[in-house]
């Protein structure tokens, strides 16, 4: 019984956070731009999320006649599924997790890579040149950043001596891994941005040049799934960073561990949004160059140094 | 082009292969290079007056300095090196414009030329934009130039194009340049109507707004707001190409559409200003029905109409259809299908039908070529037999004028002066003209060009013609004139025609005398048999007379005098009262149970009809017309049909569907009926390969009727309904009622308007031409249905000797056609109607004295029981015992002319 509650919690918390993020992001962005943002629907505009959801549900769900229909319908679902599945290995608190897998990190990396199928298939099935270009960019971006995303985490794995998220959090009892693994954190953070196509790395969408890229042709709830998928990604990445570098649920005991976990995650989400508010989008080739020529060597260097130090200590 | 030897010139560092013997400006425009210019007009030649077309010419490759020359005065020679972009040449051109603009008024917003002004284009092209001249502007008083042309002299830039066109090209007398130095004035000696029949071309020739279209001013619309369609003039048999322009559901103006083979750059005033009947308030816009002969007609809707018609065409009823030479080929064909071949009547008199058929057969069988207007312009000896060209085929008269200048051009060429160099050519020419002989019963405005004129009755004109033929070829029916002078004239004409390289005979059916036509044919046959040359051009009465001749059918007269009842009589766009006596038509109508008339304007025939169907005009429909040359040309819809107006062929198709039982047709759109027509009449098969059907696309797009700057799309209909209705689809043509579509130049027959970036004025036409005054790119529009056969036997017509002796007190009455008035549709144009004279009679002074009448007196004429009040005009060129009576002017009754009649005081 308790297990079912945990599963429901793990399913609903990220979903509601992701939905709420729509409002949070718009409000935060407007504060940073000296505006007010959505404040008309309900107190502080909180019901904006509900209004938006209702709107998305009732919009005409149009499937372009020129599209590849089954793939077109399937694509938005993939991103939701992979993102939500990944949450199952994340410990929200001691005992508050669905699964303590001993290959948790690998499961996360694998799942987040599968997410790109959603975009590529969506772009391909739309049968629209902008969508296709967006999809191509997304896959190239994914390939690039996937490589050192994994590598950057290896330092943490070495320190904790485990692939299990639960063990990694346990291993941070004496100090968050951000301190010994600062470079790893930086590289992972940037890779996480790219992985979720958040600004400034929203090159697959790039509405200025690609008119919303891979989801140009999507409307109604299918578009909503892409939309929520993106926020789920943000939440997931924040949760992962919290878990791997900021000690997960660990914190002073006057508040429950779940609170600390969610609090840290929320702060990280805000940082994600702050980056969106402040940084311009790089060119596609700049992004690739940055990935291959700077971040990859940096991640390898981090791995080397961490390994060397660990061997030296032991 | 490729057959001539090409030479190489270098323009701004690029080598071009060009034709020799042209001027540099012409050449550059041919190459698509923009050189600003004013006074040069390809049809008028160059005079080098405006100094705007300056370019820099270099002596050789080493010459870096060069010198400024006027490109319009510079012959193109091998290895010529010039620069258009040269900084000095540019500065020179900007300075010329700046000078011209010092006195130009600041009035583009209220100027009708604005938006299609050559001066605006040139000012922008040269880059002049700020006025530095601080002194006052010169002003002029304007003149009232009559109902067609608005005068605003302040806008003049003294390029002389107007007088060069009006006087030198069109032969006008009453427009000239006055005053001197900086005060040159273009106008008349005093206020008054411009008399020349081609005055409307001043609107297009003037590079700025001095002469503008007064009929357009009444409902003024900028060029960019006009929705246009390629059209064909319906007011005479020449078939000039026009651009018909629409705004707010009314026809706004007619402009010339270039056709190198037909009208070139110009149009006559009947064609240009005759369009107003389309907007007439009296237009029939709803079907009208009367249930009883004594009742008034009432407007009804389509449903009611079709319920009334449900029985009209059933097989047990005798249905007769009367076609029309002013309706399109397709409409006539649809009528023919409705009533069946045996019951189809062409709606023209027996005489007219015989004459037209004689001509068509002759042109088909004799191997003699009938020329286009362009070829008429190339003729070097012309004989006009019995046709008053200026009034019956005005543009042909203009072509004859151009032809008379061939001798002068030849003389100039001999002295090494190219024919484009207008001024010296005129000086060398002096009074020399290519020979033209005119044989008509009374004076003619072409007389001034004639080497000899022959004034007599049509019988004698025909005699003269036969005599010429017999002098040329002894095989021809031998005719010798009793009068020695006349015989000498005949011999002179014969020898001139024989000597000429390119002789041309012009005649027409307006004389109403078959012998005249036969004589003309005989002369052409004689020329062909002895010299294997010669052209024959025949003027026909109406825009589609030739097209109708291709369809089999009975003449109108066959219906008269019968006793049997006709159940349904369908009359297509034909006012029968213009074609036969009132008596016989009323008798015919009495025999009819139901009379259905399809027409645009109310007339005597619609008045007596039981059912009147609103037919579309040329501006609201598409159709094919065949001109006197046998050139089939298509006009397209400009105005979206409103109210219940529909194309005649569409109405007739619906009638055919009502009839069913006997025949069913699947005509959904225009192309269907054309295809069906081609199947039934293999003579017209040539049409198939030429016309673009409705599926034709320019790179997958339709051709837009509206320019890209068309304004007010979201506002025009907003008064009635703010929610926008989609654009009207056009299933009948490759054109679209929108500004969206192909930006490429359409094929010649589909060009709806002329525009090119930087060229908003009519001069943009150069971008659509192979070369100025040449052909349209991709070939001129229209397709000739009659081409001369080869190796044809020589056969001559015999003269028909059935001349009637005049009784004492009887007069020989000959028809006098009027450019303004004798055509049915254009006489309903409100502005043009102001130029229509009251019905008149030409009398010799001696005869007038005998009859005791003076100029402008009223006199009564009696012909075949018809009595008419006419105004006397003393005209000494008409022979004694003869009287010329105006034909078909508004208010006149039908007269069978030429004929005999009596005068009563």
């Amino acid at each position: 019984m308790e297990y079912i509650f945990i599963i429901l919690g793990v399913l609903l918390i990220p979903l509601s956070i992701a939905a709420g993020l729509i409002w949070v992001e718009r409000r935060l962005l407007s504060f940073w731009q000296d505006r007010l943002g959505p404040n008309r629907v309900g107190p502080f505009g909180l019901f904006q999320v509900i209004a938006d959801t209702v709107k998305l549900f009732f919009k005409e769900d149009w499937i372009p006649p020129f599209s590849d229909k089954p793939v077109f319908v399937m694509a938005p679902g993939i991103v939701m599924i992979t993102m939500l599945l990944t949450f199952s290995v994340i410990p929200f608190g001691p005992g508050f997790y669905v699964l303590d897998s001993n290959i948790g990190i690998l499961f996360f990396l694998g799942n987040s890579s599968l997410g790109v199928y959603s975009i590529v298939l969506g772009g391909w099935a739309s049968n629209n040149k902008y969508s296709l270009i967006g999809a191509m960019r997304a896959s190239a971006q994914m390939l690039t950043y996937e490589v050192f995303m994994g590598l950057s985490l290896m330092g943490v794995v070495m320190l904790a001596d485990s692939f299990s998220f639960y063990s990694i959090v346990q291993a941070q009892k004496n100090g968050w891994f951000i301190f010994p693994q600062f470079i790893g954190f930086l590289v992972f953070f940037i890779a996480a941005l790219a992985e979720t196509h958040r600004l400034p790395f929203d090159i697959p969408e790039a509405e200025g040049e690609l008119v919303a890229g891979y989801h140009s042709e999507y409307s109604g709830m299918k578009f909503g799934m892409f939309f929520v998928g993106e926020y789920l990604g943000v939440t997931l990445m924040s949760a992962i960073i919290t878990t791997l570098f900021f000690g997960g649920w660990l914190g002073p005991s006057f508040l429950p561990p779940v609170f600390w976990f969610l609090f840290k995650t929320f702060i990280l989400i805000c940082v994600f949004i702050l980056l969106r508010a402040s940084l311009p989008r790089p060119r596609y080739d700049q992004l690739m160059e940055f990935g291959w020529k700077i971040l990859l060597p940096l991640a390898l260097l981090n791995l080397l140094i961490t390994g060397a130090i660990l061997i030296f200590i032991k | 082009m490729s057959l001539e030897i090409m030479i190489k010139i270098k323009i701004d560092g690029t080598y071009y292969e060009v034709e020799p013997n042209k001027n540099l400006l012409d050449t550059c425009l041919t190459l698509g290079l923009d050189i600003p210019h004013f006074c040069f007009h390809a049809a008028l030649g160059s005079v080098g007056a405006c100094r705007l077309c300056a370019v820099k010419k270099f002596k050789d490759e080493t010459d870096k300095k060069g010198r400024i020359v006027m490109s319009c005065m510079e012959p193109v020679v091998d290895n010529l090196i010039i620069s258009i972009d040269d900084i000095d040449a540019k500065a020179f051109r900007a300075a010329v414009i700046e000078g011209l603009m010092t006195n130009h008024p600041h009035d583009c917003p209220v100027c009708d030329e604005g938006g299609e002004c050559h001066l605006q284009d040139m000012t922008v092209m040269t880059g002049h934009n700020y006025r530095r001249f601080d002194f006052k502007k010169r002003t002029y008083q304007n003149q009232n130039l009559g109902p067609f042309i608005q005068h605003e002299m302040n806008r003049c830039i003294q390029c002389y194009r107007c007088v060069r066109f009006y006087r030198d090209y069109a032969g006008g007398k009453d427009l000239n340049a006055f005053a001197s130095r900086n005060n040159i004035y273009f106008g008349r000696v005093e206020d008054g109507t411009l008399e020349n029949e081609f005055s409307g071309n001043l609107v297009e020739v003037c590079p700025t707004g001095v002469f503008t279209d007064k009929t357009l001013m009444k409902h003024y619309t900028r060029k960019w707001d006009l929705s246009n369609a390629p059209s064909v003039c319906v007011h005479c048999s020449v078939g000039c190409n026009t651009i018909a322009s629409e705004r707010y559901d009314s026809l706004r103006r007619i402009m010339s559409r270039y056709n190198g083979e037909v009208n070139g750059y110009f149009l006559c005033d009947r064609g240009r200003f005759g369009y107003e009947f389309v907007n007439d308030e009296k237009r029939i816009r709803e079907p009208q029905i009367r249930s009883n002969k004594n009742e008034k007609k009432e407007n009804v809707d389509d449903e009611h109409l079709f319920s009334v018609l449900s029985n009209s065409f059933s097989t047990n009823r005798k249905v007769i259809g009367i076609g029309s030479p002013r309706a399109s080929l397709e409409s006539n064909y649809a009528l023919q299908v409705l009533v069946g071949k045996d019951n189809f009547n062409k709606g023209i008199s027996t005489k007219e039908q015989q004459l037209t058929n004689t001509i068509l057969e002759f042109l088909k069988q004799s191997g003699i070529k009938t020329p286009s207007l362009k070829q008429i312009e190339k003729a070097d000896a012309i004989l006009i037999l019995g046709e008053d060209l200026v009034n019956t085929a005005p543009m042909m008269a203009l072509a004859v004028r151009e032809a008379t200048r061939n001798l002068g051009k030849e003389m100039a060429e001999k002295r090494g002066i190219p024919s484009w160099n207008a001024d010296p050519v005129i000086k060398i020419t002096q009074d020399s003209k290519s020979p033209v002989f005119i044989a008509t019963p009374f004076k003619d405005s072409l007389d001034e060009l004639a080497k000899d004129t022959f004034r007599s009755s049509f019988t004698n004109i025909a005699e003269l013609g036969f005599a010429v033929a017999s002098v040329l070829d002894s095989e021809a029916p031998s005719v010798k004139l009793k009068n020695i002078e006349h015989q000498a004239l005949a011999e002179k004409i014969a020898s001139t025609l024989r000597k000429a390289k390119n002789p041309l005979i012009i005649s027409g059916v307006h004389s109403g005398d078959e012998n005249v036509i036969k004589a003309a044919c005989n002369i052409a046959t004689a020329l062909k048999s002895i010299e294997n040359k010669g052209l024959l051009s025949i003027v026909l009465p109406e825009c589609n007379s030739m097209g109708l001749a291709f369809l089999p059918g009975n003449p109108l007269d066959i219906l008269f005098g019968g006793k049997d009842k006709i159940d349904t009589l369908v009359i297509l766009e034909n006012d029968l009262f213009r074609r036969a006596s009132e008596e016989s038509i009323l008798q015919l109508f009495d025999r009819c149970d139901q009379i259905i008339v399809l027409d645009q304007l109310p007339n005597k025939t619609t008045l007596r009809a039981d059912i009147v169907i609103p037919a579309a005009t040329f501006a609201e429909s598409e159709g094919t017309l065949v001109n006197n040359e046998g050139r089939a040309q298509r006009y397209y819809k400009t105005i979206v049909n409103k109210d219940q107006v529909k194309e005649s062929w569409r109405w007739l198709t619906e009638f055919i569907l009502i009839k069913k039982g006997t025949q069913t047709v699947q005509w959904k759109k225009f192309d269907d009926i054309v295809n069906s027509l081609l199947v039934d009449f293999p003579d017209l098969e040539a049409l198939k390969n030429y016309f673009s059907d409705a599926d034709f696309r320019m790179v997958n797009e339709k051709i837009p009727r509206q320019p890209i700057r068309y304004s007010g799309r979201t506002s025009i209909n907003a008064k009635n309904a703010v929610s926008e209705i989609g654009i009207e689809p056009d299933i009948d043509s490759p054109l679209a009622f929108t500004m969206e579509g192909s930006k490429e130049n359409a094929p010649a027959s589909l060009v709806p308007f002329y525009w090119s970036p930087g060229w908003n004025s009519v001069q943009a036409v150069n971008k659509y031409l192979d070369e100025p005054n040449g052909k349209m790119k991709g070939g001129d529009s229209g397709i000739r249905l009659i081409e001369p056969k080869e190796n044809t036997p020589v056969t001559y017509f015999q003269k028909n000797n059935q001349s009637k002796e005049l009784q004492p007190g009887e007069w020989l009455i000959v028809p006098v056609y009027q450019i303004f008035g004798s055509d049915e549709l254009s006489s309903s144009a409100s502005t043009l109607a102001q130029r229509i004279p009251a019905p008149f009679v030409y009398l010799n002074l001696k005869d007038a004295i005998d009859l005791k009448v003076n100029n402008t007196d009223q006199i009564q004429l009696e012909i075949a029981n018809t009595k008419l009040e006419l105004v006397v005009i003393i005209e000494n060129s008409i022979g004694q015992g003869m009287a010329g009576v105006s034909v078909n002017l508004p208010g006149m009754l039908y007269l069978d002319l030429p004929g005999t009649g009596k005068f009563h005081k």
């Binding site: - | 302040n154 007010g712 703010v722």
Partner: protein, 171 residues
């Protein structure tokens, strides 16, 4: 690298700034008299319509929401027979004012044009024409333009000489 961090920091600081937003329907912002809202048609000092129906506003309009028809009074003075603007299409770009050669079209601070019935957004000349001269006093197009259109005779406009005597041949 540093500039990126600085940017992020500066943007972050904006959270402490006061928002610039004016919450419109409750609080009305101040609009200067020359604020460019919807158009009106003005008259000149003689109380005649300034519009000469030149069609330049219509052609400048990027959404094609102006249509008009020129006509003339008995003296030959041009004016629009009708002048229609479909404000439901208007984007308030002001190009028509820029294009107007006679100062007839001027923009005023009125922009609150919400209607329940879209048909009410279609304004005809009588809705647009005001009594005054608007922003530009004393300008009369016909005094500048060298044409005789019932307003003045030839040569009586600004900067014009008396009409040429055509019969005069003096050098």
């Amino acid at each position: 690298m540093f500039s990126i961090l600085r940017t992020i920091w500066l943007i972050f600081l904006h959270i402490f700034h006061k928002p610039e937003t004016i919450e419109y329907p409750e609080k009305k912002p101040y609009l200067p008299p020359r604020y460019r809202g919807r158009i009106v048609l003005t008259r000149d000092a003689d109380h005649n319509e300034r519009c000469v129906a030149c069609n330049l506003c219509a052609v400048a309009c990027p959404v094609d929401c102006i249509s008009l028809q020129a006509t003339e009074d008995e003296t030959g003075r041009r004016y629009p027979e009708f002048f229609r603007i479909n404000f439901s299409r208007c984007i308030f770009c002001g190009f028509c004012e820029e294009a107007c050669p006679t100062y007839a079209i001027q923009l005023i601070p009125d922009f609150e044009m919400a209607e329940y019935d879209r048909q009410n957004m279609v304004y005809e000349k009588e809705h647009l024409l005001i009594e005054g001269e608007g922003k530009y006093h004393g300008y009369n197009f016909y005094q500048q333009a060298g044409v005789d259109m019932g307003v003045k005779g030839k040569g009586e406009g600004l900067n014009e000489e008396l009409p040429v005597d055509v019969n005069d041949l003096m050098p």
